[in-house]
Subunit: 186 residues, 2 copies
């Protein structure tokens, strides 16, 4: 494969339309297959009201509602450490609006840190095509400072984060940024 401007364009094109969560799921599949980490997205929480049990076929849920999640979307284990994070993307170029978070997600990440877990958010600035592993301690500080409103300036996120490097396979090799985070912790 010739790595150059054309390949980079093709890559960007290939990823166009692929959401951040989809990229993370592909990375997780790659990590699991290569025994690098065991990280899964949690199923969407749902309240089931009615279920039909037709003869000779699978149970069919006929009435259910989406429920507010009480945790983040992803967790798992990497190099013996508990990993917990959510994924957020924004088209905004200069800041990240805090309204993208729910209070319970911030509380959950604070609980994780209190148990010596590794908590963060993967933030993607889509128009910049830049993705960051932003440690929960900074997010919590910003949330308290701005009382859950307003936005975190891009420059502060870039300063306090670990940037996810460009990569071919997986296309979003976010554990590379987590490695740098671990180095800072040790």
């Amino acid at each position: 494969v010739r790595i150059g401007k054309t390949t980079k364009k093709a890559l960007t094109f290939g990823r166009r339309g692929m959401g951040l969560e989809e990229e993370i799921n592909l990375a997780n599949t790659y990590y699991l297959a290569n025994q690098l980490a065991v990280i899964h997205k949690k199923p969407t929480p749902i309240t089931i009201v009615k279920v039909d049990y037709p003869a000779r076929s699978a149970a069919k849920i006929t009435e259910a509602y989406f429920k507010q999640a009480s945790t983040t979307d992803y967790n798992g284990v990497y190099q013996g450490r508990y990993i917990d994070f959510d994924a957020k993307e924004t088209k905004n170029k200069t800041s990240f609006p805090l309204k993208n978070f729910h209070e319970h997600q911030i509380a959950h990440l604070a609980h994780v840190l209190a148990q010596n877990g590794i908590g963060f958010v993967i933030i993607k600035f889509t128009t910049r095509d830049e993705t960051f592993v932003y440690p929960a301690k900074h997010l919590i500080k910003q949330w308290q400072l701005r009382q859950g409103k307003q936005s975190i300036p891009y420059l502060e996120i870039a300063r306090d984060s670990f940037r996810v490097p460009n990569s071919l396979n997986p296309s979003l090799d976010y554990l590379k940024a987590v490695d740098q985070y671990f180095q800072q912790l040790d």
Copy 2:
């Protein structure tokens, strides 16, 4: 509260009919409220086929199906360690049938161990009213030995497990057994 035969009977009576998962969920709520651990049950995985969006009310799922889980039911962080487990109960007195497990659960626990996570099963013998934290390494060995069929004798589970002690609040204080497991690991 007078702790004696009467209280013990009342407790047993109070817990009668409460499933193992319900007891674990109550323990997790207690652990979270007392900042002892952050452990959650994962939502039931579902494939959503049809959703109605009625005006002025919540989105309503009108067709969905249960999906096979690819992991265990519970995970989280305790004292900086990644914890991952499933809960199983049996009315059987002398052995635990391996058909209670799916191959993918065994594979998932093996992946967790390979990442230095803590994997186990909480096994309850309901007629004995005895509950064990049974480390995944023993489960995996038994699964291979018996090729996913047959049963694990009660005596072998009791020998290789950490017994969950009787307790008032939470009624199933399974982290006490996990503490003993950690002591053996250190």
